[in-house]
Symmetry: C2
Subunit: 301 residues, 2 copies
């Protein structure tokens, strides 16, 4: 089925305890699309400025990512992010953010994308997510990411958005913050009461937990990694693998969602194994399926 993503394209500078990479390609929509494209065609909506050094058509060549929704604003600058990872490689400090185009009006969803069935609204102001979602005619399954800033600064916008979506995919700390409740199961239940039928909490190297409104729970560890090179984009790759698999299968029942979470987990494990998109671009669907089976083997008893 059709899968639409709206989100950022970023010029990232990433510092890890062992290395620094300046001005590499990043952004939620980019990681999401690369991850999802292993499973399903992707419709891409995002904005860059004239300073963007990356040719996205070349980056996504042969990957079934439709860039009709990529807008170039000649008078604007591309979103830039600089972050440094702590020794544990799970926590990071954002050193510098230049919102640039992200502080302007959101992009338009192209006419030919308006019939999209699966939609992922990557992290941005909830009012903008709402506006973007309003441009899609009859979505079947809408998943959303958000962050602490919006939970704290625009809770009403976010709560209004939650009533219109099917799935919230956020970090565990954001689940706790949004619900005002430390216990993750209770916090997820509280968010389910706000509207979405599914809540997925990302727990970094400890995996993820998914709860739905019918009381079903699914917990899955991360794929164990002896080498974590750059965790940037792990969360967006997780969402990409998950939504890509849902779009491929055309189903959203809980059993399908479980497999989708497992695929998201596996795809993210490739992302963190190298800088920028290199971990993703150097693998393929066969390797992903092989690692899914490995994940099954090391978690099942």
């Amino acid at each position: 089925m059709s899968l639409l993503v709206t989100g950022s394209i970023g010029i990232d500078t990433v510092k890890t305890p062992g290395d620094v990479r300046e001005n590499c390609l990043g952004g939620a929509a980019v990681y999401f699309s690369m991850a999802a494209s292993f499973f399903s065609p992707v419709r891409f909506v995002g904005v860059i400025g004239s300073d963007c050094p990356f040719d996205l058509a070349e980056i996504f060549a042969g990957r079934n990512v439709d860039l009709t929704g990529l807008e170039l604003r000649p008078q604007s600058k591309t979103f830039r992010w600089t972050g440094s990872y702590h020794e544990n490689m799970d926590d990071r400090t954002t050193e510098k953010v230049e919102l640039n185009v992200l502080a302007e009006a959101p992009p338009k969803v192209p006419e030919e994308f308006k019939d999209s069935e699966f939609v992922f609204l990557a992290n941005t102001a909830p009012a903008l997510q709402h506006e973007l979602l309003g441009q899609v005619k009859k979505p079947v399954f809408v998943a959303v990411d958000t962050m602490n800033l919006w939970i704290q600064e625009y809770p009403d916008d976010l709560i209004a958005l939650l009533k219109k979506i099917d799935c919230l995919i956020i970090n565990e700390d954001e689940v706790r913050m949004l619900a005002g409740q430390h216990n993750l199961i209770r916090a997820a239940q509280k968010i389910l009461d706000m509207g979405p039928g599914v809540v997925i909490a990302k727990k970094g190297e400890s995996g993820s937990i998914m709860c739905n409104a019918d009381g079903h729970i699914f917990v899955l560890p991360a794929f164990p990694a002896a080498d974590v090179i750059d965790p940037t984009g792990a969360g967006d790759s997780f969402a990409g693998g998950l939504m890509g698999y849902l779009s491929q299968s055309g189903r959203t029942d809980f059993e399908t969602l479980k497999t989708a979470v497992a695929y998201g987990t596996v795809v993210a494990s490739f992302t963190i194994a190298d800088f920028s998109l290199d971990g993703l671009t150097s693998t393929d669907r066969a390797n992903i399926d092989k690692r899914l089976q490995e994940l099954r083997n090391i978690t099942q008893f």
Copy 2:
């Protein structure tokens, strides 16, 4: 097969964000034995002083725990511990420790326990664990717990002990500390090189990870709990369920160890659902088996 445990009997005062319980029964050997007794007969070795208000024979009545190794020292006082849990119920502050009998000579392993096949040495000074282990003739599988204090203060004693044991079961932070390596997989590999064939890292509400010397890995989330009342004893109950199942099955291959970790996880989930031993004593093997199946359902895809 036969299962021996050596460890503390404690008089605990536990403070949680919602409640306080003073002078309740605790201690590693107590939690371990109660947990293991659902699976296997347990041989108990530990010391109390004359102030101990608990009748362990009554506590363990009908539970197949042999208290021949319980030593009463009339001139001594029982180990006491006071701790308070943080809002997240995973971290805690030890407010007060009175070692009392634990600072004295260790107990003797009774003659009739010296042929024990499975042995768990609960947390105490590694030199004492070494001495206790020396009293067991030909153990088949020895598992050990330790803590940051011994890793920092008596590393040589601990490293000598590691060469003689089969399995180390410790918290993830202790794995990192002992190995001097943040990445948990690499840290576990480093500890495997020190001697034990199996390393199990306990990750609190994020479950556990097990690595063996053949390169096998098993990861399992904790059983999701909407109500965490008192986490005290969760780690010892985990070890008790694990070792109890191994002793019952009489096997230590990796597939059996995986199921043992799952049983440990399930038994611990009963422990944290109430204060002291109440969560354990109010369940039974049928409920444990039922929850094991639930754990399978919510983790498998």
